[in-house]
C-alpha cells in the first residue's frame, strides 16, 4: 500500500514536470503547425537565464522568496527576446512551406542555439540553489520529499489552468482557437493571423522557458541539458495529441505513471517504458489521445 502511494506521488510529480516542459511544444504545434525541435534549447535558455537572474538577485541581497520572481522574470526575458527574433527573423521566411521543412529549420535552430548558449555562458555548471530549499522538506510516511517538487505540481496546475482559461475564456484565446482550427478561414474573417502566430510562439517559448527556469534548481545547468528534454517532450505530445492542452496533461500523466511503475516494479524496463507507450499510442491512435488535428487524408 505504501508502495502504491509512493508510485502515485512519484508519478504525479514527474508528470507535473513533464507537463510544464511539454506544454509549450504542443501549443506551438497546435497554432503554427511547427514541430519545434529547438524546444529543448529554449528550455535550456530558460534554465541559464534563471541561473543568471537568481544569482544576480542573491548578489543584491534580495530575500530568497524573490528567487521565484527571478525565475519567472528569466522566462519572460527569454520569451521576450527570442520569440520576436526567431519568429520574425527566421520562421517567417518559411511559412507556407512544407511542414517537414519547418521541422528541419527548427533543427538547425537547435544546433545554432546549442553553441550560442555555450558561447554566452561557457561550459561551467551553474546552480540555482536558493529556490530549492524554499519549501523545506515534507515527510509522507517513511519518505522525505523536497517541498519544491510539490510546488512544481502546483505550478503545473496553475500553468495548465492559465493556458486553458486563456484559450477558452478570453477573446484573444478564442481567436487563437479559431486559427488552430483553420488559419485560412480565420484570415478571411479579418483576423491578423500573423499576429496570432507571434503570440502563440511567444507563449510557447515562454512556457519552455518556465520549464527550464523552474527545473534549474534541481539540476546542474550545463551544456547538454537540452538534449534529454526534446525526445521526452515529443513523446508526451505525441501521446496526448498535438495541439491539445488536455492531451499534454493526460500524456504527461501516462508517461509519469508508466515511468514510476517501471522504476518501482521493473527497473530494467524503465528506459523502454516511454517508447513502449509511444509506440502503442501510435499504432492505435496516431493523432494522440485527444485529437485536435486530422491526421489522415485517406
Amino acid at each position: 500500500m505504501q508502495t502504491l502511494f509512493t508510485i502515485l506521488i512519484d508519478g504525479l510529480s514527474y508528470a507535473a514536470w513533464l507537463f510544464i516542459v511539454a506544454l509549450g511544444l504542443t501549443l506551438v504545434f497546435g497554432v503554427l503547425k511547427i514541430l519545434n525541435m529547438a524546444h529543448g534549447s529554449f528550455y535550456a535558455l530558460g534554465a541559464y537565464a534563471a541561473a543568471s537572474f537568481v544569482s544576480w538577485g542573491a548578489s543584491m541581497k534580495m530575500a530568497p522568496a524573490f528567487s521565484i520572481v527571478a525565475m519567472l522574470l528569466a522566462a519572460v526575458a527569454v520569451a521576450a527576446i527570442l520569440a520576436p527574433l526567431t519568429e520574425r527573423g527566421l520562421m517567417r521566411f518559411f511559412y507556407g512551406r512544407d511542414e517537414v521543412l519547418l521541422v528541419l529549420v527548427t533543427y538547425a535552430l537547435f544546433l545554432i542555439l546549442e553553441d550560442v548558449t555555450k558561447l554566452i555562458w561557457g561550459a561551467n555548471p551553474y546552480y540555482v540553489s536558493e529556490p530549492y530549499s524554499l519549501f523545506g522538506n515534507i515527510d509522507i510516511g517513511s519518505q522525505t520529499y523536497v517541498g519544491y517538487d510539490f510546488a512544481l505540481v502546483a505550478l503545473a496546475v496553475i500553468v495548465g489552468l492559465a493556458v486553458w482559461w486563456g484559450l477558452n475564456r478570453t477573446r484573444h484565446g478564442k481567436i487563437v482557437l479559431a486559427v488552430i482550427h483553420s488559419a485560412e478561414v480565420a484570415a478571411s474573417m479579418g483576423i491578423n493571423v500573423s499576429r496570432v502566430y507571434m503570440l502563440a510562439f511567444t507563449v510557447g517559448i515562454f512556457l519552455a522557458g518556465i520549464g527550464g527556469a523552474f527545473t534549474a534548481p534541481m539540476i546542474s545547468v550545463q551544456p547538454g541539458v537540452s538534449v534529454g528534454v526534446i525526445i521526452i517532450s515529443f513523446a508526451v505530445v505525441i501521446i496526448g495529441g498535438l495541439g491539445s492542452i488536455e492531451g499534454a496533461a493526460i500524456g504527461a500523466l501516462i508517461v509519469g505513471l508508466a515511468r514510476s511503475l517501471a522504476v518501482h516494479m521493473a527497473p530494467v524496463a524503465e528506459l523502454f517504458s516511454i517508447y513502449i507507450v509511444m509506440a502503442l499510442v501510435l499504432m492505435f491512435r496516431p493523432e494522440g489521445l485527444f485529437q485536435r488535428i486530422q491526421a489522415r487524408k485517406i
Binding site: 511542414e99 538547425a108 544546433l111 545554432i112 553553441d115 496516431p286 485517406i298
Partner: protein, 304 residues
C-alpha cells in the same frame, strides 16, 4: 546517361584522390543511398523522418551477418542489408501508407526511436557501444590494407550508380509517375483507378531497401555499428540531404550528400568549438535560398 559517365569518372578519379577524400565520398555515396529512399517517398508527397531505422537495420544485418553468419562478401552483405531492412519495414508499410504530412514524419520518427531503444538494450549486440566488424571480402578475394579503401569506395560508387539508374527507370515507369500524381492530388488518382495506398506502400518498401543497402555499405567501410544509426538526428541529416537535393534529380542526392559531408568535415576542422553553429547556419542558408534543391540548379523547368 550522365549518371553512368559520372560513376565511371568517379571510380577512376578515386585512384588519384587522397585517402580521406575517398573515404568521405564513400560515406557520402552510401548515405546518399539512404537519402535516395527519402527521395522516393518525397515524390509521393511524404517525408520520412525515421529513415535512420532502415539505415540501422541494414547496418546491423550486415554486421551480424559478418560476425555471426560468417558471411564476408561485400556484395552479399550489401544485399543482405537491403533485404533485411525491407523485410522488417514491410509490416509497417500498410499502416504508414495511410498518413501524410507531419504525422507520417512523426510516426516514422517514433518508430526509429523505438528501434533505437531496442538496440540500446540488447547487450548481445554491444548495447550502446555497438560492435566492430572486420574487413569484408569481395567475390572471394581478401582485401589488403592498402586496397580496401579504394575497393569499398568503388563498390559503393558503383552500387550507388546502379541504384540511381534503377531509380531513374522506376521514376519514369508507370508506378513512378503515379507517385508524382499522388503528390499532386490523391483523390484524382483514386478516381482514375490507381491505388494510392499500394503506391505508397511500395515506395516505402523500396525506400527501405535503398536505406538498408546504404546502412550495410556504411558499416563495411566504417567497420563499426552502434544504435546511433537509428537516432533522430541521423534521420534528420538524411532528410536534410534530400531537401538539399530537391526531388527532381537523382544525381543531386549524391551531390548533396557529399556537400553535407564536406561542410561537416570542414566546419569540424575550422570551428572545433562551434561546428554546430556553422552546420546550423549552413542548413538554414540552404533551406532558405535553395528552395527547390540543388537539382533545380541544372534542371530547367518548363514553366506552364
Amino acid at each position: 546517361m550522365i549518371g553512368m559517365l559520372f560513376t565511371v569518372v568517379l571510380v577512376l578519379a578515386g585512384l588519384l584522390m587522397p585517402k580521406w577524400l575517398t573515404f568521405l565520398v564513400t560515406m557520402a555515396a552510401a548515405q546518399g543511398l539512404v537519402s535516395l529512399g527519402i527521395l522516393l517517398l518525397m515524390r509521393g508527397g511524404v517525408v520520412s523522418f525515421g529513415q535512420g531505422m532502415v539505415f540501422a537495420l541494414g547496418g546491423y544485418a550486415a554486421a551480424l551477418g559478418y560476425s555471426r553468419l560468417g558471411l564476408t562478401d561485400a556484395l552479399g552483405l550489401t544485399l543482405l542489408g537491403g533485404v533485411t531492412a525491407m523485410l522488417v519495414a514491410a509490416p509497417f508499410a500498410p499502416m504508414l501508407a495511410r498518413y501524410r504530412g507531419i504525422f507520417f514524419a512523426m510516426l516514422t520518427l517514433a518508430l526509429s526511436m523505438v528501434i533505437y531503444g531496442l538496440l540500446m538494450k540488447i547487450e548481445l549486440m554491444g548495447g550502446s557501444d555497438g560492435f566492430n566488424i572486420g574487413r569484408p571480402t569481395l567475390l572471394g578475394q581478401t582485401l589488403s590494407d592498402a586496397r580496401v579503401g579504394y575497393v569499398m569506395y568503388s563498390l559503393t560508387i558503383v552500387t550507388a550508380g546502379v541504384m540511381a539508374l534503377l531509380s531513374r527507370v522506376y521514376f519514369d515507369s508507370t508506378r513512378g509517375l503515379l507517385t508524382v500524381a499522388v503528390r499532386d492530388n490523391e483523390l484524382r488518382v483514386e478516381y482514375l483507378g490507381g491505388s494510392v495506398r499500394q503506391a505508397m506502400m511500395i515506395n516505402f518498401i523500396l525506400a527501405a531497401f535503398a536505406g538498408g543497402m546504404g546502412g550495410a555499405l556504411v558499416v563495411m567501410s566504417l567497420g563499426h555499428i552502434d544504435p546511433n544509426f537509428s537516432y533522430w538526428t541521423t534521420s534528420g541529416e538524411f532528410v536534410f540531404v534530400a531537401i538539399l537535393a530537391g526531388w527532381q534529380s537523382v544525381l543531386a542526392v549524391f551531390l548533396a550528400s557529399t556537400v553535407l559531408e564536406v561542410v561537416r568535415s570542414f566546419s569540424s576542422s575550422y570551428f572545433p568549438n562551434t561546428w554546430q553553429l556553422a552546420l546550423g547556419l549552413f542548413l538554414l542558408f540552404v533551406i532558405r535560398f535553395l528552395t527547390r534543391g540543388i537539382g533545380s540548379l541544372w534542371i530547367k523547368e518548363n514553366r506552364r
